[in-house]
Structure formats: C-alpha cells, structure tokens
Symmetry: C4
Subunit: 319 residues, 4 copies
C-alpha cells in the first residue's frame, strides 16, 4: 500500500478486495469475450458519433458544425478501437469482418456472432443518445419525430441520401468510401509497408474516418458500416419514427448494408493487388529493406539471433 497511491490511475492494479469481487463475474469463453468487446466498442463509437449529430442538429449549428460531426465519428471510432482491440481485434464493422474472413484472417464461423453484437452495440448506443437528448429532441422538433422536413430528427441516428442523389450515385458513393477506408486500414497495419505505431493505430483509424467524413460525407452521410446504420435505424423504427425510416430516400436503408460490404471487398482487393502481394518474401525482409519498421525488426533479430524466424519476427516484434 505504501507506493500504491503513486501509481498513475491507468496502471495495472494489484489484486484488491474489489478485484476479487469483480473477478467472480469472469467469463473464460473467448467468443463471448470478443462479442462483448465488439458490442462495447461499437457502442462507444456510435454514442460519440450520433451524439455529435444530435448536438449539432438540436442546437441548430450553435454548438457545433459539420466538422464537429466528423470529429465525433472519428474520435468515437478511435476510442471504440481502444476499448476493444486487445480483445476482439476491433473490427467494429461487419464489412471489415467480412473482408478479413475473405482474406482468411478471421474465421467465417465467428462472423455472424461479431455482426450480431456490432448491431446490438449500435442499437443500444442510439437508445442512449435518444435518452440523453430526449429533452433536446422534444424541444427542437416540438414533439414530432419526423424523418424528413425542416425539423427532421431521424438523421441523428441513421444516414439518408441527399435529395439530388440517384440510387446508382448512392451506391457508388458508399462503394468508393468504404473501399478508401479499407485501403487505408490495411496500409496502416501492413508491417511490410510503413505501418503506424501499434499503440497509435486507433488514432489513425479515427483519422481515416475523419478524412472520409470531410471529403465524402455530403452525398449520403458516410455510413461506411452496415452496423452503424442498421442498428440505429431499427431503434428509430421502434422508438417512434415509424416505418418511414425504411421508406425514406426511395428505400435507401439497404444501400448502406450492401454497398459498404461490396466497397470493403473492392478496397481489400485494390490494396492486396497493388501493394501487398508485391512485397518481397517475408523471410527476406530483414536483409532487403532499408525501411524503418523493417529495420527495427532487424534490430530485434540481432538481439535474439537464435530466434531469427521470419514468422516470429513479424508477428511478435513489430506489432
């Protein structure tokens, strides 16, 4: 106890009575743990994201602008990833999970569980935002929960297309946006390219969401993520906005589900075929590359010459 008070509060704890009490709730199934982490990660992401839309909408731009919404989703993503990455890998997005299954980096059998809990997290976050902004939404809308019109509030929760947008334009918009997301995410973690530092990858994933919001948010609100869109949409359907949420924008609701998955696969193929498959053989990296991260790998290898095993070097030291 003597030095305990000097630990920064984010330090790992020594076992205390409270720890032992909490540990009685411990779950050992890795699938359940991962599903809980995905659920909480998406919850945090949507809580901040949809909260920022609620703030800008109900304050009529006096407590924020479009850029605040971009920041809300970006930093929401960052902290959603910090919350869950060490447990589940922080997919937080069915389209990302699908792409990783496609690449063989995630087992197909876990895909439905991940998707279900991602949608559940988004649904609960939308409910929390509605509760937190209940008074504000009532005040702003005069108690009429509408999907379109000057005092529409459904856009706080889900995405709707701009009036001018055609169906094919909307599909194109979501395919391009999600493909760009996926190219950037794969590059950030590609240890044979120039990856971001592991501890800061959540920040950079958030920055990808920021730049997509800044450059591709105008047409249809950059869903990029089926769970981010369908979970809050289901909530609004139940909570009083009615089935207009599925009919609005010429039945727009299915586009963020299908086009984002297609876009993620397109982006995955682009990065794989233009960059990743052309990297030199793994076993040759420490000899052939003068690039930063690979060099750190070399340093690590020199420290453990008996362990000069390419797989170890890449999986273990660099990430």
């Amino acid at each position: 106890m003597r030095t305990l008070h000097k630990l920064p509060f984010w330090c790992p704890k020594h076992a205390t009575g409270m720890d032992r009490l909490l540990n009685t709730f411990r779950i050992r199934s890795s699938l359940v743990r991962e599903c809980l982490a995905e659920c909480l990660g998406v919850y945090i992401m949507i809580l901040f994201g949809c909260g920022s839309v609620a703030q800008v909408t109900t304050s009529e731009n006096s407590n924020g602008h479009y850029l605040s919404i971009n920041l809300g989703f970006a930093l929401g993503t960052t902290f959603g990833v910090y919350v869950s990455r060490g447990v589940s890998g922080a997919h937080l997005n069915p389209a990302v999970s699908l792409s990783l299954c496609f690449l063989g980096r995630h087992p197909w059998t876990r895909l439905p569980f991940y998707v279900l809990f991602q949608i559940l997290g988004a649904f609960m976050a939308a409910a929390t935002v509605a509760l937190q902004y209940y008074d504000a939404i009532q005040f702003y809308s005069g108690g009429h929960l509408t999907v379109s019109g000057p005092k529409a509030t459904a856009g706080i929760f889900s995405t709707y297309p701009a009036d001018y947008l055609s169906l094919w334009g909307g599909i194109m918009d979501q395919v391009v946006g999600t493909a760009a997301l996926m190219v950037c995410i794969l590059a950030l973690g590609d240890t044979r390219n120039s990856p971001a530092p592991a501890g800061l990858q959540p920040v950079l994933v958030g920055a990808v969401v920021l730049v997509i919001g800044v450059s591709m948010g105008s047409n249809s609100g950059y869903a990029l993520n089926p769970a981010r869109d369908i979970g809050p949409r289901l909530f609004t359907y139940i909570a009083g906005w009615g089935d207009e949420v599925f009919r609005a924008g010429r039945s727009w609701w299915w586009v963020p589900l299908v086009a984002t998955c297609a876009g993620a696969l397109v982006g995955t193929l682009i990065y794989e075929l233009l960059i990743e498959v052309h990297h030199p053989e793994k076993g040759l990296i420490s000899e052939s590359s003068a690039q930063g991260q690979a060099t750190e790998n070399r340093q690590a290898v020199e420290l453990h010459p008996e362990k000069n095993n390419p797989k170890d070097g890449l999986d273990g030291t660099l990430m």
Copy 2:
C-alpha cells in the same frame, strides 16, 4: 559548460547555483507533493478551459466558436495531465479519484486531500481567468455580472443547463458523459487490452474530453468533474455574481457534483465487467496474446529471462 548550451532546453539539468537555491524549497512529504501537483494540474486545465469560454463569449464568436471551447478544455486537460501525472497520477477530478479508491487503486485516506486541492486549483484558475479577462468582461457585460440573460457571463466559469433541460435529463446527461469518460480512460491505460503509448496518454485523455464536448456538450456544458464546476462556481459567488449562481437552473449546482460521481462509478463498472475482468490471467499474457503491447512485454521478458515475473513485467516495463 562546454556542451551545456547544446542541450535542448527540456533536458534534465545539471545542478547549478539556481538549482541549489531552488532546492532549499524542497518538500519531501509525498502527500504534499501530490496535492501541489493536483492543484497545479487542475489550475492549468481550468485556466485554458474557462479561458476559451471567456474568449468566445466576450468576443461574441468572432475569436472562436464552440469548437474552440472543446479544444480549450481538451488541451487544457492534456497539459494538466502532463504537469501532474508523474507526481500524483493526474486524477484532476474528484469523480476519478473516487472511482480509483473504489477499485482499490488509490488509498481512501488521501481522497479528501486530493479533492480539496483539486477544488482549490479550479478556484484559483477561475480567479486568474477573471483577472485576465477583467476588461473584456466589463466591456462585454457593461459592468453587470449576470448569470442569465443575453449578456450573462457566469457561464464562462461554471456550467448551467439549457432552458429545455429537465432535472432528470440533466442527471442522465452527466451520468452518461462521465461514464463514457471513465470507460475510455480505463481502456487507454489497460495494459492487457491495447493501451495508448504511455507518453501520449495525456493527449488521448484530452481527446476523450474533446469528443465528449463535441457530442455531449449541448445539454449542460459537460462538467464531467465536480471540482471543475464547484471551484469556479464558488469564485463567481464571491466575486460579484452573487447567490444566483447557486439558484440558477432550478439549483443546478449540485448535479455536476453528484451525477458525475455516480457516472464515474457506472463507467468503471461497465469497463470492468464487460472487458477487464475477462482478460486472461496476468501470468499467461506473454503466451496467449498476439496483441501489440503484450508482445512488447514478451520481448522485454525475453531480454530478462530471470525476471519473468508477471507483476514486474506489467507494472514495470509497459508503463
């Protein structure tokens, strides 16, 4: 002296005459040191935070917008943490101190001292802002220090609810906001999840404050922190705004004290029960996890095989 001038100015110093003079003021009591650090940390946080509100208010949005205020509190928190973390752990918030005591990571006996000096720091920062913006506040308000109305200036210092907000809405708002803060802070420092780099955690704690301001600031100004609210409120009570600061918003003043503490405990329980208690046993981390930080841990362990002690590895190497 030959190479001294080449040291970057933030380098540790060699003892000089000035050092010896300053060292005569040295205090060895760890409690006093920690209280001074908490006080200065909160002072810096509120100086920048309330200063940004003063700038936006008195310039009537011409020298900043709501986003400036979000940045002021966010970066204020960042630098408040940098100033105090190495000494006191940078709680800077009675609700955080309370949660850490609850988890057994901080001794209950130090709690009242921490809280007292946190409030003192906030009080003095409010006084400094009032001094720095004295001319501006006089000019803007015409010399009438009011709590509500078109030229109200009490909101520079403490939080007040929006007109539409009900009491329960306000309590809910502060509980959700502080719970989200606590979940993110615990995740950022959880070495068995995917923590942020130790030297950048103050930046990321600031980013949490930024995203909460962007997404949950509209209802009641995101106090999140009893000291941040009551310290400046006491200052305004004394400095000329009168007891209206306690009566405004249907006696709003106690909500940021009580609801934030409740919210911090809720957030702590959410993170503990959904994520932290389910982590694999500490002693198994270096075998069972492929995740970044844990791997660095493994590397460290390999460097010192004779020291492969889970507690050492976690407390020492990673933070």
Copy 3:
C-alpha cells in the same frame, strides 16, 4: 486456426488459400512495384483532397468550410504516404522526386516513371471524385460545367489563381509554398537533427500540408505539386470543362508545374545550406550530441559494440 481469430485485423497474415491465389498476381520488378505504389498513393491523396473541395463547393459551405479542405488534403497526404512509403518512399510529388534526384538520393533514371505514375494517379482520382459527386455537381451547377463564375466547378479539381493575383505574385506564392514544404519535410527526416518518429512521419508530412493550406492557400489554392494539379486538369479538359481549364487565369496552368519545381529546389538548398551541411561528422554523432534521437543511437551502439559503424547506425537503427 485456434488463435487466428484473436489477431488484430491489421496483423500480418499467415498464408491462406486466398493469399496463395492473390500471390499469383505478384510482380517482382521493383520499378513496377514502386510505380504502382506512387500511383495508389497519389490516388488516395487526391481522392480525399479533391473530394473535400467537391463537398464544400457543392454543399455551398453547409457540409464543411475552408478548413475542411485543408484537412482533406492534409490527411489525404498522410494516408497517401502510409500506403506507399514502404515501397516507393512516398514521393507523391514530381517536385519532391526532382529534389531528391538533385541531391543524389534518387536515381535520375527512375524520375520519368515516377512522374508519369504520379500524374496517372491524380488523373484517376479526379475521375473518381467526378463520378462520386456526379449528381451533386449536376445539381449544383445546373449541368453547366464552368471554369469561372458563381457556379464554377473546375476549382474542385485543379487550382486557379485569385482574381487579384498577378503572374509574378502567383509564381512567388508557389515558390515560397513549395520551398516551405521541402524545408519541413527534410527536417522531419533528418536523423542528425530532431526527426519525428518514423512511424508518425506520414502524419507530420500531412501536418505540413495542413499548415501551408491554412497560411498560403488564399492566393492560388496551394498546388505545391505538379502532378496534383496537371492530372486533374487533364481530366477536366477531357470530361467536359473544355480548354478553358488551360486558358483561365491568364494561362495559369503552367505555373503550378514550373514554380513548384523551382520552389522545391530552393527549399532543398535552404535546408541543406543553413542546417544539414553543418551537422557534425556522422562518425562523431554518438559522442558529440546530447540530442534525443542521437542518444537512442548511442544506446543502440552500446548494445552492439562490435557494430559501431556510423553508416549502419544511421541507416539501420534510427529509421
């Protein structure tokens, strides 16, 4: 497979069936790989950059302001660099490639290939933006693709000078801007000065683009990059804006090609002559400098005393 699902999705993959299929597309020529990487890097940069201009223009400032455009180009540059740096060095800019050839850090023989693929990437990105914003541009402009006037849309893709700008003013503007870019980029990577961490250099290169946009964007839209300007201009020439794109602004189009190259060379000379050539001899660094990075170098050298070779230490350990 047992632990595979626990890997963060940005982890290096184990070979799977999909990997083997993708690897059949593998190209071993380093020149082709580098050209593909430069092309995709510039594509990402311009996709986000011009996309942000399209969003601000077609939404008439309701979904973003000038600062959004600054962020779009800045983060576009960041992710363009992450995508390509490990393969091609991430020049992404003919003026940068030229400067590096001039300094002897890049072979002149590869210059034309790099430039060609940089322009190709920018051209394709402009085409993608036009496709993604097709409905929005039609709606905004009423179907009239014009280069100047109140509903002009050519400025989404290429830069045009402000009405007040003289030719010499424009040349000066681009020379100063590109020189400032080059000074900062060279400083960020100068291991004998105080370089940024290797894994975060793409973020800081983006920050240079941000600050140039914030401080030097007003006169002529901070092209800074011949490929960024001529690729999209060629696209607009073909896609319906006509030869006005070359005639507008008193035939402005050649200034971003010539003045940026001149500016990059000026900036290179400034940094080299004021800072880099005066650094102490390489072999003496670990003794003579008390500065951070160099000290890490010293540490590395102490770990491998038998390898105390200046070139190794600098090329290998620090980057």
Copy 4:
C-alpha cells in the same frame, strides 16, 4: 546505387557528388550553426503564423477563421522546432532563452546572439509574407497600409491590443499567457515527471501554442514571444506602415517585449517551486518511482548494469 532508390527520401544520405559540393559550405562554429538554426526556426514559425493571419484578413474570413490562425501559429511553432531543435535546442523565443539562462541551462554569453537571430528570422519571415501577400494586401486595403480602422493590415504582422484593453490588463494578459506557456514546456520535457516522447515534443509545444491561442488570444493576440512581435513590427515600420506601428494602442509595442519575459520567469518559478524541486533525488529514481518513463529508465539500466550512473541514465536514455 542498387538499393538507393528504395530508401525513403527522409533517410540519411550516402555521400554523393552533390553532398561533397554542399559540404564546401560547411561551418564548424557551433555558435554560428546555432544562430542559423534559431533564425530558420523562427522564420518557419512566423512564415506560417503571420501567413495564416494574412490569409484570414485578406480573404475576409472566407478562407479561414480565427481557429485557422491558431493552427497557423501552432503548427508553425511545431515545424520551427523540428527545423532547429537538434542544433540549437529550438528556443525560438527570447523569453524562453532568458528563462533557461536564469535556470543555468543555457550560457548567458550566448543569449544576445540567440535573441538577435531570433529577431532577424521573424523580420525576414514578415518580409516574405508581405511579398507573398503583396497583391492580396493591395487589393484588400486599396493600397493604403493602415494600422487601425476597418481595412487595417498591420495586425497581420504584429500584435495590437483590443480597444477595451487597459495597459495593466494587457500586461497581465501577456504575463499569464507566457507563464502558462513556460509551465507546459517545462512539464513536457521534465524526465522525472511524465514527459512527452522526445520525437513528438515539437508537436506538443505546438499544441501549447494552439491552446493559448484558443483561450488567451482575444485580448491582445497572444504574442508570447518578444522576437515574434518586434521583428515583424520593425518590418512594418520600414515597409510603409510608418511609426504608427509604435504609437498604436497607447504605445503597446513594448508590452510584448517586457511582459513576456516577466511571464516566462514567473512560469519557470511556478513549475520549479510547485513540481520540479520536489522530485525525489535523481539517483533514487529507478527505485522509487513506478511511473512510465522512469521505468523505461530502469529497463535501460538493467540492460547496462555497469553503467548505472544517474546522470547518464537521465541525460542519455530518456531523451
């Protein structure tokens, strides 16, 4: 040459013909090198900072807002520090140099040279901004270079107080602002507290400037730096704004010179007396502290048990 083209362009170079040519300009005097670095560092800082004011002023807020100016000075400072830190320590500010001399961390004999070249860099940067924005300033002001009034342009270069500001209010404003700057800078580099990573300290110093601009910019434009103010003021005096630049604001010009130096000393004393002098003895750090950086220190010490010398450990390993 075979692998040369694969080097990222920020890699240290191998000696080439161009290198040998440039090296003929090499200067070995450390004082001259440092003065050149301070001059270029301040030049970059003011080029971006005053450039952002010029952009916002001459575009009448259409190409940026007050926040753009905050970003311009913040990132200007960041890159000014990157350019010069490895050579001169990146003071970039006579008030900072003075404080470091006062603490015995910089030799008094070098102070006048540093100050002179800092002012020179700011003067030249102001001249460059005036050249780059010559057409814009002429267009905006109609050719009348005025210090006050609706089309005043002297504020692009130097700071002037708000109309409501009293002399004592202005002095207080600059003392508080510069003291806050100094407290944060000293905390960021205090290796016995919780320092920022060495390679990112320039970014965090920029963030300090950002938050001061956001929270303390309204009264008198946050000079914080005698050289930043007097250099450009001298330029405007010569370049056509006349002696009104010294008479405006009741002879405001001397306040940013004197009050910033006083403020820097106040901030230094606050940080020293509240935090730094109370740190445990240097030699005891590796035993007594559980805090992050110190632990890395411990790790380093364990790697080199024969070198367990407090001074080495602190000066060498941590920075």
